[in-house]
Symmetry: C2
Subunit: 284 residues, 2 copies
């Protein structure tokens, strides 16, 4: 038996955004539900990786027998908060054929000609898959609100359009896990500085990252509105303290494990006569 | 320094299909270029995994600076030969955002209304990505030839259409690595038998797998024609002995490593003034 510390409480209710939630009261350094240190967290993450892969395989197997269920992880955050690390260190444990990754950048000219959800719908996971949105339709009420890329009444309309859209996905069998990785402004300065210090990280840096940083408080306010208006019982938001990368990865892994465990997946039954196929195989 | 045995020859030329190649002379139990045993192979695979991930990250970084290069791994094989294991154990080492996986099953009604390459073109990797085709356009000259799903002159036309298509991809910066995993008919019986023995593997079994098995020799002939007609200097085929799963995985990993190493990737240079951005960051 390991002496490492593990979760002492399920983080799901601790991180879930409920009515009355205040982003400015979340400590980005905290590790809710996990009393251990980094070394404990890394060990727990490694143990969870194989469980996550095994559960996703069951989800995929179920889909071959007609089960329509799937999972969609939505990742939002300020720059450098660690979305990329979640994708490689958490989602990376899952078989590539069970993952559908989609990164959303500034919309193209073609995408701008359609409703903001058009490009989103084209990237949804299939039955059996774990979909990952690296940024998402929430950019359309975050940067688009702050930069006034859309008119105020259009922004207003989108909050309702989003909850309706997500309700529809949930009704069709998608479990949506919406995660905001929450870092402090000081932590972001340190991480951007590291990108500037290391020539092998320059490609990850964009001067526009600092332009957005200068609007930090407005982004925090825009996130608060997102939580107030789009955290629903069907598709709640989770705010994950992310100053400690190891905790954020472990917490998101745990949210995905819980989502899959709640599905009570079992291997599909054979739709053929096993003995008959054994006989055919022996004769072949 | 490890005492484990490693490659004693680059497997790339050993596995490449050259004029005069005969599939029926390849021993599916062999391990060309690798004198070690399974335990050596597993250690080499683990070491290669981080190198593969690191090289793909460089490819992706290059794409952010306009480099158009990408890699496409094409996997073909008889059932149970281990395509899935290549995807999870070799490709699985790469960051999910750098992978584009596409599995090709029997074409849908919509797909059948188009040229056979239509659905293929829609799944090509973007610049910076490692694309993986789990089955491919080669099904259109394998099962379609054997089952006569297309007329003989249409099948004939396709070999030329394929090499033209692949020449075009190569010219635009795609390195194509075409792999046929080669198992023996006896090994397939054993693997299908295991799927029948284990209820957690029943979902992977389909009675049609035995129908195809009964056509084993015709498939081997159809593969020989594929090699004769579509193994080109730009996009050669590799036949990988696959009775030993660990060897097949290690060999495909090595082919991908070599493809990426040949690109001589370097980190893109900053297109901004680093000192100026440091100053902006300090003031933010």
């Amino acid at each position: 038996m390991s002496r490492r510390k593990a979760w002492n409480a399920d983080p799901e209710p601790l991180l879930r955004v409920e009515p009355g939630f205040r982003l400015d009261q979340v400590d980005p350094d905290a590790t809710p539900g996990f009393p251990g240190r980094k070394i404990d967290g890394l060990e727990a993450l490694a143990a969870g990786a194989s469980r996550l892969a095994a559960l996703q395989e069951r989800l995929y197997a179920a889909s071959t027998a007609g089960d329509q269920r799937r999972v969609l992880l939505v990742l939002q955050a300020m720059d450098t908060a660690g979305k990329g690390g979640i994708v490689s260190h958490v989602v990376g444990a899952v078989d590539p054929n069970g993952v559908r990754y989609a990164g959303f950048k500034a919309p193209t000219a073609e995408e701008r000609e359609h409703d903001f959800l058009w490009r989103i719908e084209r990237q949804l996971p299939s039955a059996g898959q774990l979909g990952v949105f690296d940024r998402s339709h929430y950019e359309d009420v975050l940067i688009q609100r702050i930069r006034a890329f859309a008119a105020p009444d259009e922004i207003e309309r989108r909050y309702g359009a989003i909850t309706e859209f997500e309700d529809g996905l949930t009704a069709e069998g998608t479990t949506i896990v919406k995660v905001m990785l929450h870092i402090s402004k000081d932590e972001q300065r340190e991480r951007l500085g590291e990108r500037l210090d290391r020539p092998d990280k320059h490609w990850k840096f964009n001067p526009a990252d600092i332009d957005e940083r200068l609007l930090w408080d407005r982004y925090q306010d825009a996130y608060q509105i997102v939580f107030d208006r789009t955290s629903t019982p069907q598709a709640p938001w989770y705010v994950v303290p992310a100053n400690r990368k190891w905790y954020a990865r472990l917490a998101v892994q745990q949210l995905l494990l819980r989502a899959l465990e709640d599905m009570q997946l079992s291997w599909p039954k054979a739709d053929f006569d096993v003995a008959e196929q054994r006989q055919r195989l022996a004769e072949s």
